[in-house]
Amino acid sequence: MSRFLNELEARDCLSEYQIPMAKSFLIRDKSEIAGLTAQMDFPVVMKILSADIRHKTEAGCVFVGVGAEETEAVYNQILANAKAYDSQAVIDGVLVQELAAKGMEVIAGMKKDPQFGPVIMVGTGGIYVEVFKDVAIRLVPLNKEEARKMLEETKLCEIIRGARGIEYDEAELISILLKLSNLAQNWPDIEEIDINPLFLYEKGRGAKGVDALIKISG
């Protein structure tokens, strides 16, 4: 049996390995909202945290660009929408996430092949990953040279290297891939990691993972 970590757990797990992720806080109770305002830059993203609600947007449980004064109203709205969508769903709370600046959409991740063990993946991210199929893979452990070669197998690489004049932070992406390789080696229970989108910024400005999914066995 395998299960998915919730978004917050996934984020914490990746942050532990210095993989840059958008800042998130969990609100379990209305009383926690006030304390939040001091810690975040607004506007923010607010969404439901529940393993039972997979399609959060369809459920009306994602709000983008929420201002500080709206937080409480949105909080109530999300809980109400979640209840309306699935009255049986177990709700962990509402996630408040930093609204990350847009960057080049990348997918980075790892998947355990039943025969070969962990495999690292990188490619063009976003909602059309399955359509473009612009991903390259390598077995773990990955070294810097292989990470670079792997990236060069994707069309994404051309974009990153300035196809339209903007060069993106390739060094940061490669470092993230190496961290994923490390993580996969240290945690054999992890079956799958998907960071999508990972926003890659201009050269020297790093990257930020916005959505992450981690599947573990047991």
């Binding site: 092949d113 039943p114 025969q115 070969f116 063990g117 893979i137 390598r138 077995l139 040279e145 070669k149």
Partner: protein, 479 residues
């Protein structure tokens, strides 16, 4: 590595169980092939129904043979396995000599029936008891061309005089039919390919890909390893083995099951868990293992590795004798992706211009020359010499369509002389006019210089050689 496998490739005496006098039966062909290849040891046919086969005295039972037998070829119909194994036990208790069984019969575990599985278990169980290694079942057997062993039951087409010839290619096939075809196609080239060791592994009930890869890894006569692969249950271990070997010698693999339907077919064929093709592909790239996509590419690449030294870089000059084939070749060259046209020196260009007919094209595009159909044998050879002498050139693709007025024999002989002067630079020669040019191709090939059927065949071989050369060079830098 298991030394017992020595007996598979270099046995002192061979017993053939299920031998026959009927030329239409496998049990005959095995004896015939052993005779044909000039196997120097003793061959002992085992059968109830004959006195002699091809002049060799038959025995009724394996346990009746009085001399040491280290290789047993098992070709009897599968239902008889139980009594044969009982007899094997008698022999082992008495002589304890058999080291390897090559089971070339089918109708064992591959059928996935209870009875088939039981037969295979009986075979393996008995063999294990005495430390005997088993190749197969459900395979065509083994050829060692240097030690002159051929336990196959197929017409290999390998000419008799090839027996004992040194060749550097060792090959492992998960399919008997692919193995047989590759052998026969290799033997049908202008000059027959001389393989070193050749194994069809069938069900891999005991000896599997990894055992053989490790054997070939340590075998000094093996310069390059070829493989037809459908899948392997422990992909990770296979890749680790291949990765270790690829640091020392090239491994070229025709891996099938690229499409999901193909993978399904592979699963039901060898019953091996095919594993994700995308991961195999990534692993091959990662560890310098060369993947061939067609039978032709596999054979061309193996021969290129066997016959030539590795290029030191990716600068590949394209020398053609005609426009069309040159342009056709250029397209394939660009698709290949890892070759680069060299910029030769002004002296080289000048020398070529002086040497060639006035209408020849030298250096347009850079790294390309068309010597035209007006070029004679001397101009073919001298222009190639000039290019090989240029330091900017790592290898050359040479394409010519021999016109009726060009003496083929002279061309072949002069090329042989020249190429012996430049052993460090690979030259991929395509003399492309079908059977018309067999004579020049044969002269080259019997002198150890491989020729290719079409320009795109040259390009694939050149691309793969260059990729492997780069892989090794990058590794050295890292170390």
């Amino acid at each position: 590595m298991d030394n017992k496998l020595d007996a598979l490739f270099n046995p002192c005496n061979i017993a053939v169980i299920g031998a026959s006098n009927n030329p239409l039966k496998a049990g005959y062909t095995v004896i015939h092939n052993l005779h044909q290849i000039g196997y120097p040891g003793g061959v002992f046919p085992v059968t109830r129904s004959q006195e002699t086969i091809l002049g060799r005295k038959c025995h009724v039972k394996l346990s009746d043979i009085k001399v040491d037998i280290d290789l047993v070829v098992l070709g009897t119909a599968a239902p008889l396995i139980y009594e044969i194994m009982e007899d094997l036990e008698i022999r082992m208790k008495k002589y304890n000599d058999v080291k390897v069984i090559a089971c070339i019969a089918a109708d064992y575990g591959e059928t996935k029936t209870a009875e088939g599985i039981r037969r295979q278990e009986c075979l393996i169980h008995t063999a294990k008891k005495y430390g005997i290694r088993v190749v197969g079942p459900n395979c065509i057997g083994v050829i060692d061309n240097i030690n002159r062993v051929d336990t196959t039951f197929v017409e290999t087409l390998i000419p008799k005089e090839m027996g004992g010839c040194k060749g550097g290619i060792s090959f492992i096939s998960q399919s008997g039919a692919m193995a047989a075809s590759i052998l026969m196609m290799g033997a049908s080239q202008p000059a027959s390919i001389s393989m070193n060791k050749f194994v069809s592994i069938g069900n891999m009930a005991d000896v599997d890909c990894i055992d053989l890869l490790e054997y070939f890894e340590a075998d000094n006569d093996t310069k390059v390893i070829g493989m037809y692969l459908e899948g392997y249950p422990d992909g990770r271990r296979l890749i680790e083995t291949l990765a270790r070997i690829a640091k020392k010698k090239p491994v070229v693999i025709l891996k099938v099951g690229r499409s999901s339907v193909g993978a399904q077919a592979a699963n039901s064929h060898t019953g091996s868990l095919a594993g994700s093709d995308a991961v195999y592909d990534a692993a091959f790239r990662q560890y310098g293992i060369i993947r061939a996509y067609t039978i032709e590419e596999l054979m061309d690449t193996l021969q290129a590795f066997d016959a030539m030294s590795l290029p030191r870089g990716n600068k590949c000059f394209l020398l053609t004798q005609a426009g069309g084939p040159g342009i056709y070749c250029t397209d394939a060259y660009m698709d290949q992706g890892n070759l680069q046209f060299p910029r030769v020196s002004d002296e080289t260009k000048e020398e070529l211009t002086n040497l060639l007919p006035p209408m020849a094209n030298v250096g347009s595009p850079e790294g390309y020359a068309d010597i035209t159909a007006a070029a004679g044998a001397r101009q073919h050879v001298e222009s190639l010499r000039t290019i090989l002498a240029d330091d900017n050139v790592d290898c050359v693709i040479f394409v010519t369509v021999v016109p009726t007025f060009l003496p083929q024999k002279e061309l072949g002989e002069k090329l042989v002389e020249l190429l012996k002067e430049y052993p460090e630079k690979p030259v991929y020669i395509c003399i492309m006019a079908g059977n018309y040019v067999l004579e020049s191709r044969r002269i080259l090939e019997t002198n150890g210089i491989r020729t290719f059927a079409t320009p795109s065949h040259c390009v694939k071989a050149a691309g793969n050689m260059t990729a492997y050369g780069n892989f090794l060079a990058n590794r050295k830098e890292e170390v």
